[in-house]
């Protein structure tokens, strides 16, 4: 097996088991790195062991025992680890698959514990569960690497000192805690999907990791319709990844995307998941958003989009989780479903309430509706307002482009 591939795909799972065995995040991480170093030396000449994962775990564990024995004051802890050394004794034995799977799940719930600050949950999950480097995470979130490193150190410190357990929550707690995990997964996905600044490769990786993580959750916790809905939602959004930005890096709106480049296989899987989730009783934000995404994804042309249905779903979404941003989306859907004037009136009303003064998509949506009505000078004025609010380069380029075509 290719060591690098193993590192990419398995390090999260191996780490999860080591954390349980060693009871310490930092020690587990460090020992796993050492085990990889040994593997890099030995495997090319001695051959890859039959069970590489078990080999790495047992090597890392031996290293930990050595390390702890050297440090006098940890003597008792070293003995504890050595006592439960069934893996250490038989490095080639098959590890209990079920136990490994549980370790992964435990790790996710620990990293997403509500007692940790949300940004730390996201960072810790990416670092520990997904194995993304601190450097990469800091680039994705546009914070200095030192700040991100500090955030991770604090989070691990809190896990240790506040006694955050390394355990899958009890069935009574599961529902609430799962919501927290889903939120972290969705934030990771959105960071990759919505942020249009920063490193494009890393952003794509964030989306892929969020989807991979959600697949693991759905597999380990079957019959959780909200989790299925979130997986469906992400697959449907991600199916458009190649169509939403041009070769020149320009943003392409849904309406103008080349639908033949959408990932059909992923749309099918996403749509199936949404249906499964709805049949299972999912009624939350993910299920509603996923239903909307499925309607967009399954429309053969922009014209054939089922806007009345989408507007109706936004109505429900607005009732379950009121937010001015959803109101903007609903107004656009109403404009497309009923009349542009009606949508415009809704947008104007949101504007009057002044809750979204900083939100560039409000004037941008308004500009687009005005453009469709042929009210060019008003549209241009709205695009200019959007431009003063938009901060990210791709969106600014898009708005500027729209403005020039309008005034040409």
């Amino acid at each position: 097996m290719d060591l690098e591939k193993l590192h990419r795909e398995e390090s999260g799972r191996i780490l999860a088991t080591l954390i349980r065995l060693l009871g310490d995040f930092d020690l587990a991480e460090e020992m796993l790195q050492e085990a990889y170093a040994v593997a890099m030396q030995k495997w090319p000449s001695e051959g890859t062991p039959a069970n590489p994962r078990a080999w790495l775990i047992s090597t890392a564990r031996h290293k930990a025992i050595d390390r702890l024995r050297r440090v006098q004051r940890f003597e008792r802890k070293a003995e504890e680890i050595a006592r439960t050394a069934e893996i250490a004794v038989q490095p080639e034995s098959n590890l209990d698959e079920e136990m490994l799977v549980d370790d992964g799940l435990r790790l996710i719930f620990t990293c997403c514990h509500p007692s940790l600050p949300l940004e730390a949950r996201v960072a810790l999950t990416l670092r520990t569960v997904c194995g993304i480097t601190t450097e990469e995470i800091s680039r994705a979130f546009l914070v200095p690497a030192a700040t991100m490193a500090q955030r991770l150190v604090r989070a691990k410190g809190k896990i240790r000192e506040a006694g955050i357990p390394y355990r899958v929550p009890s069935p009574e707690e599961l529902r609430d805690r799962l919501d927290g995990v889903l939120l972290v997964v969705y934030l990771i996905f959105n960071e990759g999907y919505l942020a249009t600044s920063g490193d494009a490769l890393i952003r794509r990786e964030l989306c892929a990791e969020a989807i991979r993580l959600e697949r693991v959750l759905c597999c380990l916790l079957p019959k959780q319709p909200e989790a299925q809905a979130l997986l469906g939602l992400m697959l449907l959004h991600d199916s458009r990844r190649d169509a939403r930005v041009s070769a020149e890096g320009e943003l392409i709106l849904l309406e103008e995307q080349d639908r033949s480049s959408w990932d059909r296989e992923q749309i099918r899987e996403g749509t199936d998941l949404v249906e499964l989730a709805l049949r299972g009783g999912a009624v939350g934000v993910y299920a509603l958003q996923a239903s909307i995404a499925a309607l967009h994804a399954n429309a053969k042309t922009a014209k054939e989009t089922d806007w009345p249905q989408i507007a109706a779903l936004y109505d429900v979404l607005l009732r379950t989780s009121p937010s001015p941003v959803i109101e903007v989306n609903r107004a656009v859907a109403v404009a497309m479903a009923r009349s542009i004037e009606e949508g415009l009136a809704l947008l104007n009303e949101i504007e009057r309430r002044e809750e979204l003064k900083e939100f560039h998509l409000l004037p941008a949506a308004e500009a687009d509706l005005l453009r469709r009505l042929g009210r060019k000078s008003e549209a241009a004025e709205a695009y200019r307002r959007a431009l003063t609010l938009a901060t990210n380069d791709i969106e600014r380029r898009f708005l500027r482009h729209r403005l020039t075509t309008l005034t040409e």
């Binding site: 514990h113 007692s115 410190g157 809190k158 000192e161 506040a162 006694g163 357990p165 355990r167």
Partner: protein
């Protein structure tokens, strides 16, 4: 691990509670304490007198400054505490959630610092 569960509630709200309402709350508190004690998880706990009974003491440059209060402009005041033994944070949270005041007030769960591993702020 030991955790201090700080119980914050609205003193104003509590003052407005009827006599029988209070009796019911105290009874519920009593049951929880008994149950925790039986499992060896209850290490101590008390209701505090109202903040109007409080005194604030500071020593600055060797000088003792004693004032009334604190009367912070907050909706909720510290009204009592439980010191509990729990295997981990989740168990402490589960106990906190059963404290009657959690339903209308706030419980702050603070691990007792162990010497040598006091968390940095």
């Amino acid at each position: 691990m030991q955790y201090l569960l700080l119980i914050y509630h609205s003193e104003q709200g509590f003052e407005k509670t009827t006599e029988s309402g209070r009796a019911a709350i105290y009874q519920e508190y009593g049951q929880l304490r008994e149950e925790l004690s039986a499992k060896g998880k209850f290490l101590g706990g008390n209701q505090l007198a109202a903040t109007t009974m409080a005194t604030t003491v500071r020593v600055r440059e060797g000088k003792r400054v004693v004032t009334d209060g604190p009367f912070a402009e907050t909706k909720e005041q510290l009204g009592g505490y439980f010191l509990v033994n729990a295997s981990d944070l989740d168990e402490a949270i589960a106990i906190a959630a059963r404290i009657p005041s959690a339903r209308n007030g706030t419980i702050e769960v603070r691990p007792i610092a162990v010497r040598g591993q006091v968390a940095q702020a």
